[in-house]
């Protein structure tokens, strides 16, 4: 065990630092774009994408990935643009797309020129993809698509959607779905904002009425859509980011406890608050060192084991505890409305804590409810038998 980096990695870090010193910050309207281009050339961004698709074509090296994240973070330099296109669509195409699809879509997606949205969830389907109802029919050289998608972030800004569509109505449920790409800027696509309980419209509903897409805008084979949608990138997983965010939450909570009075003195001096903060810290530190362990395992090419199935629910639970304590600390301000804080941004005042309080529920709900995750941990992690109902549905 050794938590320092060896000399090779330390000189890699020096290299990254010199690069950053020379190249960031820079002036001009296209400063970010130009910087990213240089960073790709230097091998620091899109490391797993071939050069011909706009990547820097580096061998997987989770520790180098971590160092790059650390140094770019420290310098506040632009990293890979956020968004579902670079993080989900591009890797999927890289693995499952045809050559022309890769050439056409990946480079401009990586630069952020093309904006994507995701069309998986439907009203009433939730975590059960088998019940997907949006239909696609091949008419001549085009797919004609009808149906409705929901929880689609950024649909109003997106150029394209990658989505799951039932194209083989006679096939067994999981095998009747295809993965299609759709141009969002066409008649028949209607985007309606979907407000969450916080009051903000962070999501959309998307209605698809006789929407058309070329026959070959399908990724993978017909009926393989469910499999294609599960393509995930394990190249240089960021095992530590989540833990760092919960660590920041704890620090924010402590700051809140310092400026809040309780029983006539700062809440940070109240034994109950101290016990609760320390209990949360137990989870935060467990999170942190589990992340270190995952990073190491990834670097060695070994499997970190069951822990990878758990970290999402673990974070959700932890965020719940943080949120509950924050509400207790807010006192009367606990009845305020949510600001428009999102998790991830550090909360700075009472309303953003309320926002985080509500979003901690959104997390539980998004991307598979907690109960689905418990099933996965129980069945795939612990090897418990599947339950009767699920078995039936899988047939």
């Amino acid at each position: 065990m050794d938590l320092t980096y060896d000399s090779e990695l330390e000189s890699f870090r020096d290299e990254v630092r010199s690069f950053l010193e020379e190249n960031w910050p820079r002036q001009g309207d296209d400063a970010v774009q130009a910087f990213r281009q240089r960073a790709i050339e230097a091998g620091y961004l899109y490391r797993h994408f071939p050069r011909k698709y706009g990547g820097s074509e580096q061998e997987a090296h989770p520790l180098k990935g971590q160092i790059i994240r650390e140094e770019f973070g420290r310098a506040r330099a632009p990293s890979e643009p956020l968004g579902i296109g670079p993080s989900m669509l591009a890797p999927t195409l890289l693995e499952r797309g045809t050559e022309w699809q890769k050439e056409k879509f990946i480079p401009r997606t990586l630069t952020g020129e093309l904006i994507w949205c995701q069309g998986y969830s439907e009203p009433g389907s939730g975590s059960d993809l088998a019940s997907l109802r949006t239909k696609g029919e091949l008419v001549g050289d085009e797919w004609v698509i009808n149906g409705q998608k929901v929880w689609t972030s950024g649909a109003h800004l997106a150029d394209y959607m990658f989505c799951l569509v039932r194209t083989e109505p006679d096939a067994p449920k999981h095998k009747g779905i295809s993965y299609l790409l759709i141009d969002m800027k066409q008649p028949g696509v209607e985007v309606r904002p979907l407000r969450t309980m916080t009051g903000t419209a962070d999501f959309n509903e998307v209605f698809l009425n006789d929407v058309r897409t070329p026959r070959d805008w399908i990724v993978g084979e017909r009926g393989e859509g469910w499999l294609v949608s599960r393509t995930t990138l394990k190249h240089e997983r960021n095992s530590i980011g989540g833990a760092r965010r919960t660590e920041e939450s704890l620090n924010s909570l402590a700051r809140l406890a310092k400026k809040t009075m309780r029983n006539g003195r700062p809440a940070i001096e109240d034994p109950e608050i101290r016990q609760r903060l320390a209990t949360i810290e137990g989870y935060v530190q467990a999170h942190k060192y589990s992340g270190f362990r995952q990073l190491t395992k990834d670097a060695k090419g070994e499997s970190p084991g069951i822990i990878t199935l758990m970290m999402k629910l673990f974070s959700t639970n932890l965020q719940h505890e943080v949120s509950k304590l924050s509400l207790d600390l807010l006192g009367a301000d606990g009845m305020l409305s949510a600001g428009d804080a999102h998790l991830g941004k550090p909360a700075s005042d009472a309303q953003s804590w309320i926002g985080a309080y509500m979003y901690s529920l959104g997390i539980a709900v998004a991307g598979g409810t907690a109960n689905i995750q418990r099933n996965v941990i129980g069945e795939r992690g612990l090897g418990l038998p599947r339950d009767a109902a699920a078995k039936r549905s899988a047939k």
Binding site: S121, P123, G124, G126, S127, D128, A130, S131, V150, W151, L194, R195, T196, M197, G199, M261, R262, N263, E272, H320, L327, D328, L330, G331, A332, D333, G334, M335, L336, S337, A338, Q351, I354, L361, G362, A364, V365, A366, T369, A370, N371, R374, N375, D387, A389, A390, R392, S393
Partner: protein, 359 residues
């Protein structure tokens, strides 16, 4: 020994419930969330049932009933998330009834009993101060300063204001120097304001200091009742959803995971019925327990309500997190019930200070 509601109380709940179902079902409430207008028609209907004067002396135009009657109505209003000034109004009327001079009562109570005029209480001060002992707004004859988190202040004709020394005063609508600022609160069925005074005329209630803690305790009991009603409704909504929604080819309520969560939720709801009953009953009939039981009921039931609110979002999956889903209405009422007049932790600490076992 008869620890149950009377036939009259049950009928009162039924009547109020029917009115709420008719005049403000969730679809209607959703519309009202978008407007900050006082719903005069609804208030008038509630007044038609005599609710504003339920616990005001018959001599002053009220029904002369008890705190328990206010509480069972609060349960029903909470169950239906009925919007409006009921809570602040009945507390203000109670304050005047307990602490006012005969003349003050005569001058104010009849119009409050009929619902013609609306009243509210201004007990909060900056720094999460609610307790009469800690009020710092002072002034004799006129006030200068601020009170926080005053429900329905914009619609109130009278505001009963907590003053230093635990005194109470009354400020009338349109008084000079009175300014009312809306607060951006989560619960849009009970709008809240910060109220400031600048040399504002204020009439003191002679018995205010004795009345203030009792009014607070009644408020705690009514919040507990509202929270019981609201958590009960959330449970009903979740059960209904679990019975109708299908996933993997079966109704989701047949999955043990969800079924056990709903059973655990039920354990957090149903046993609180008797607790709020007794807290309210004690206000009139068990003075030695009134203060402590109000604190325990408020802390326990509003805390459970908030948890039930969280559980309900989860039990509904993605839809539960949307604005359109009804869950958010009650979730935010839970936020109000939990924080208004002091958080569960504060009342737990008070309950221990008053506990025989801690002495």
């Amino acid at each position: 020994m008869n620890f149950d509601l009377t036939e009259e109380q049950r009928m009162l709940q039924e009547t109020v419930g029917q009115l709420a179902e008719r005049q403000c079902p969730p679809t209607e409430i959703h519309k009202r969330l978008e407007s900050d207008e006082h719903d005069a028609a609804l208030w008038s209907s509630l007044s038609g049932l005599g609710l504003p004067g339920l616990a005001i002396d018959a001599a002053h135009g009220g029904a002369g009933l008890e705190i328990l009657d206010l509480a069972v109505v609060s349960e029903t209003l909470g169950y239906h998330a009925v919007p409006g000034p009921f809570l602040g109004h009945v507390l203000a009327a109670h304050a005047i009834g307990l602490g006012g001079s005969e003349e003050q009562k005569k001058s104010w109570l009849p119009a409050l009993a009929s619902g013609e005029r609306i009243a509210t209480i201004a007990f909060g001060e900056a720094g999460s101060v609610w307790d009469p002992e800690h009020w710092s707004l002072s002034g004799s004859g006129s006030l200068t300063g601020e009170k926080t988190f005053v429900p329905s202040a914009a619609d109130a004709d009278l505001i009963v204001v907590g003053l230093t020394g635990g005194q109470l005063g009354v400020v009338e609508k349109g008084a000079s120097g009175l300014a009312i600022e809306p607060v951006d609160c989560a619960d849009l069925t009970r709008r809240v304001f910060h109220v400031s005074f600048d040399d504002t005329p204020c009439e003191t209630l002679p018995g205010g200091a004795a009345a203030a803690p009792a009014v607070r305790d009644v408020g705690l009991s009514l919040l507990a009742a509202d929270a019981f009603g609201g958590s009960h409704r959330l449970l009903d909504m979740c059960v209904e959803y679990a019975k109708t929604r299908e996933q993997f080819g079966v109704t989701i309520g047949s999955f043990q995971g969800l079924k056990h969560q709903l059973a655990n939720m039920a354990l957090d709801v149903e046993p609180n019925r008797g607790l709020y009953w007794f807290a309210a009953y004690a206000q009139d009939h068990a003075p030695e327990e009134a203060q402590r039981m109000a604190a325990i009921a408020k802390a326990h039931i509003t805390d459970r309500y908030m948890q039930i609110g969280r559980d309900s979002v989860e039990a509904h999956g993605g839809i539960g997190f949307t604005w359109e889903c009804d869950v958010q209405i009650w979730f935010k009422r839970a936020m109000f019930d939990r924080a208004f007049l002091g958080t569960p932790s504060e009342h737990r600490e008070r309950a221990v200070q008053l506990a025989p076992w801690a002495a």
